[in-house]
Symmetry: C2
Subunit: 259 residues, 2 copies
């Protein structure tokens, strides 16, 4: 499946978490805010690059992105969330009618992007095996505020066999534009997570014997900031239901080798 | 010499290019603009990360930066440029009296940061040997515009022995936050540079036999954008006269090794 085929399916009404879709292509989180909030969002991302690596920003009112020429950010994601004054107002499959002319859309790197690399290295991904969305948790770590925007760090969690955690760290660490290395591996309480079986977003996933919970900074962090900071209006993707770009994962892999 | 000692010397009136100062610590380019231009600058940087990697952004009116607690961005650089409507209005050693309450300051990574690594690997740096500022050139490559901001890519140039270019590329490539790998090595005409002996900023530097000119994206690029885009007011560092932070170079080296 190509990214274009995936986007066409979502445009036609398919709704599904996008983990595993169009393997090898970069997926992104969406957050769109009115122009007068755009500086705060962009600065929040600059100050919190682990959860919020910005891959593209649209011009006001545009639904086009350099990440996928021809795609439409207001139609080509499987599911959207509409936010009013920090409250989730509705969850819909299409936001064409809501895309105001002053809206600025941020495409933020997603950890689904490095999952292809993890699988290629033989690292099992339990949420895929179990047919579930990846689980995400609000942590006790605060992001560095920016203007009116503040909020906690959100993480995604994947149970990884203990002997493979170092390799998973190396593979994801080489891709800082899609969250990079884990922020923590091991005890969830370190991040203030009381119960792995009750994620704040996504689905619970069962660990296999010998698995360690591994936590990556997550692009849902801006949604937690929306809830805390209450801008009048915003549109985001629904957690796990990402935008699939035309960019290959490899474009976001840091190489330190000579040319 | 510590970064604090270097900043104290500049605060006391010393004026000098900072290449080679406080070796092992990160240096930054400065661009400060009124708040209503800050989004354009930050977006320009996001869209042009090779020349404009943002390491910190101040809150409006503040001269403090997380990169060096206790430092003052309006006093601690050796030399500043003041811009009015895109024209260089004056070059001064202190801008305390000009720091307006709505000014937002961007600290942008500088290639002097990876020079320590180049020297440690035995790669000669001709501008240091010759006691000169590094030469910088306006190229024929346009940056991706952002709002009202547009302009050409500026590069710094270092003559490197041909057999060491690959190693210089690898060392700098591991530091994308301070411009990363070269954008070009070899024929200056590829970048539209007519005469290496006549740089647009800094000093001409003589190559040794067997040297190849190697070009890195340069943090003077925002100054070229100021000239092209003409915001009413801006303050920058003078080319080569950087802010020396308390951050060690190694903090900006990407590591893909397991923890």
């Amino acid at each position: 499946m190509t990214p274009e085929q995936a986007r066409a399916a979502f445009r036609a009404g398919t709704v599904a978490p996008t983990s595993g879709w169009a393997a090898g292509f970069t997926q992104t989180n969406l957050i769109a805010v009115p122009r007068d909030w755009a500086y705060d969002v962009l600065l929040f991302c600059q100050r919190n690059p682990r959860p919020c690596p910005v891959l593209d920003v649209t011009d006001p009112g545009s639904t086009s992105t350099v990440l996928a020429p021809g795609a439409d950010l207001s139609r080509d994601l499987p599911r959207y969330r509409v936010w009013r004054h920090g409250e989730l107002a509705e969850e819909v499959d299409d936001v064409r009618g809501l895309w105001q002319e002053n809206l600025v859309a941020f495409s933020i790197g997603c950890s689904f992007t490095f999952e292809t690399g993890l699988l290629a290295a033989g690292i099992p991904l339990r949420h895929l095996e179990q047919g579930r969305n990846v689980p995400m948790y609000v942590t006790n770590r605060q992001c560095r505020p920016a203007g009116r925007l503040h909020g906690p760090l959100v993480v995604s969690m994947r149970p990884i066999p203990a002997g493979l955690v170092d390799e998973a760290t190396a593979i994801s660490g080489a891709m800082p534009a899609v969250h990079g290395a884990p922020v923590h591996a091991g005890d969830p309480a370190e991040l203030g997570i009381a119960d792995l079986a009750r994620p704040d977003f996504g689905d619970p996933v069962e660990a296999e014997p010998g698995d360690v919970p591994v936590f990556w900074a997550c692009g849902v962090t801006p949604q937690a900031a929306l809830m805390a900071s209450k801008p009048p209006f915003a549109i985001t993707h629904s957690p796990g239901h990402m935008f699939i770009t035309d960019r290959r994962d490899s474009e976001y892999r840091v190489t330190t080798a000579a040319r």
